[in-house]
Subunit: 155 residues, 2 copies
């Protein structure tokens, strides 16, 4: 049985790119600004000791009516296979959750300057977690050819 839950933005992406283009995110810098009504700087204490962060965010520009629940071709490319929405990372997905590993450049009070976050200006942030080496994939990571092709120009 499906159940629904409420989540609340803990902050927002400020700066960076204005449009959700497909490629060249590597040099993009932005700030993650925590909501000052909910948090103090204590929520980020010690975060500078980590080089990378995982950010869970909401693809807020995707209309709920556009969400795909079956299969589609990644980026609509006719030369890539029809794959399920959970076998790809397209943004028009159930719950519209985005997830990205980015590099932490600097902390500034309630804000984090990050590099390589593939979320646009104004994106609601739902969680920030530090990347721990012990949580990276264990064993060889295997992927289909279309996924390798898709990432070729991403950063």
């Amino acid at each position: 049985m499906a159940a629904s839950y409420q989540v609340t933005s803990v902050g927002h992406v400020r700066g960076g790119r204005q449009a959700a283009v497909d490629d060249d995110w590597g040099r993009s810098r932005a700030r993650l600004e925590l909501d000052a009504d909910q948090f103090t700087a204590a929520a980020l204490a010690g975060i500078e000791a980590f080089s990378h962060l995982e950010v869970i965010f909401l693809f807020h520009r995707v209309a709920e009516t556009d969400v795909e629940t079956g299969a589609r071709r990644p980026r609509g490319r006719a030369d890539w296979p029809l794959v399920g929405i959970f076998a790809q990372r397209g943004k028009a997905r159930p719950n519209r959750l985005g997830l990205c590993v980015c590099r932490l450049v600097r902390r500034d009070g309630l804000a984090l300057e990050v590099e390589g976050l593939d979320a646009i200006d104004g994106t609601p942030v739902l969680d920030i977690k530090p990347v721990m080496r012990g949580l990276l994939p264990r064993g060889e990571v295997r992927e289909p050819e279309w996924a390798t092709d898709l990432m070729a120009g991403y950063w």
Copy 2:
């Protein structure tokens, strides 16, 4: 300004461990069962081509009143530093979102058998994404000593 959004479970963790113990998750096997009212097998088409999945889930056993919004010592360990909730991965966190990379063992219709998922039986699943090599951390991953210590017995 904080904004709230509704998310709905896309499925549940079935089997695996019954209690949220801290360590030894590596050999844990469980099934991710998609909700048959929302999805058909099309939603998982092609997923077998990936070796690893990222699963976003809800720490549903954490009471909202127990959520930490400031700093705490990971696992309450006096010998580890007081760090912000976004500088650690403790489950009593804003929005109670969990995130784990696990290995895909087998697909069976609307279910995925996985290994090394650190979520207990009955956990609501909010998203499943394939791990792509191009989205792993770029550059050396640096972490504080307590994080390395914490992960020592995790898998």
